[in-house]
Symmetry: C2
Subunit: 210 residues, 2 copies
């Protein structure tokens, strides 16, 4: 089991496998083969088997993987079975939209694990106002005592110039997972996990292929 050092790329595919399993109409099929999963995920069937085998033996020879049981395993492995509090830093256009989108997802599906639990901004005009029932706070006012160490993931939606400072601060308060929408490479200690979601960067990648 998860004997450490699972490559990042495997985790990314595991999330895809879980999504695929969840798209199967309940009760429609008891087993799914590695080749069928591979087809949906656009990866080789050996890849699927090897990825899953990193975490345990979930399949049955000659039959495939039990949909229900495998789904539960992946949910457990990927921590999709518990609420995960998320703080949003920078409540501008994009930050607001993400808050609305994520609270909406959660509202329509109580099993959706990500819960927006705090909003931060540096604009005095915004402090104290509400988005989706959450009050926007000044980052500086966030202290460890206020039972906030439970926040696990930061959405960084501040301007590029402020991103590093905000991330440093969030890290010091115990956050280890960062989804960074700002066009900056965040420099954080090795136990922090940063995923880049900078739209301009992605558009520029696409532009190369035109």
């Amino acid at each position: 089991m998860a004997s450490n050092k699972i490559p990042d790329v495997v985790i990314r595919r595991m999330v895809t496998y879980l999504r695929i399993l969840r798209e199967i109409p309940p009760g429609s099929k008891e087993y799914i083969s590695s080749s069928e999963m591979g087809e949906w995920a656009a990866v080789n069937s050996a890849q699927v088997r090897k990825d899953l085998a990193l975490f345990g033996e979930f399949g049955k020879q000659g039959v495939g993987y039990p949909v229900q049981a495998l789904t539960e395993e992946l949910v457990r492995i990927l921590r999709a079975d518990r609420d995960i509090p998320v703080a949003v830093f920078g409540i501008g256009e994009l930050g607001t939209a993400l808050v609305r989108y994520l609270t909406g997802r959660r509202r329509s599906d109580p099993k959706y694990p990500f819960v927006i639990s705090a909003l931060f901004d540096s604009d005095p005009a915004k402090i104290g106002t509400n988005v989706e029932g959450l009050t926007i706070e000044l980052l500086e006012s966030w202290s460890e005592d206020k039972n906030r160490k439970e926040v696990k993931i930061a959405l960084i939606t501040v301007p590029a110039g402020a991103a590093q400072e905000v991330a440093d601060r969030a890290y010091r308060l115990g956050i280890k997972g960062f989804l960074n929408f700002a066009p900056t490479k965040l420099r954080l200690p090795p136990d922090a996990r940063v995923l880049n979601a900078d739209v301009t960067h992605q558009l520029q990648e696409l532009a190369y292929y035109l």
Copy 2:
């Protein structure tokens, strides 16, 4: 030059190199070494040299890479020197935010290459209304004659269930680059380029490491 088959991962790094070069205060330094660029991009210096060498010989031994000239080369290679029209499919919470964000970027920096040029939705109540001066249209009303083949990139911000159909339609109208925010794997012909930007997927990846 670009003798085809440059790995995707190299293009991603090239975009990062360009961002780094642009962050250098103009006139502050004439040359930059591969190790300095590597430090900022968090990659090995040999990697930087090898990546750049795929496109030409831009450096000077013993000195480094000329900041100004290299910037211009990367701008050219990555097509950041021309306007690139983008259409947004699905003008909900997230779609609206992206339209506002991108038009704002463009307004404050006329050299920002991405121009939102069309908005589509399927909700009759939205058709004809305006976002940032652009009128929301019904996807079905989009035909090739209307001088729209120029649109190069699609932002897919429709719900998961509609994403594939919308992408198929966009592809048939000539769009080859897709930035997909819907939680679905798009299946498109091999000459299409799809980048995934599904926030839930990314959050779930981060959750594994908690």
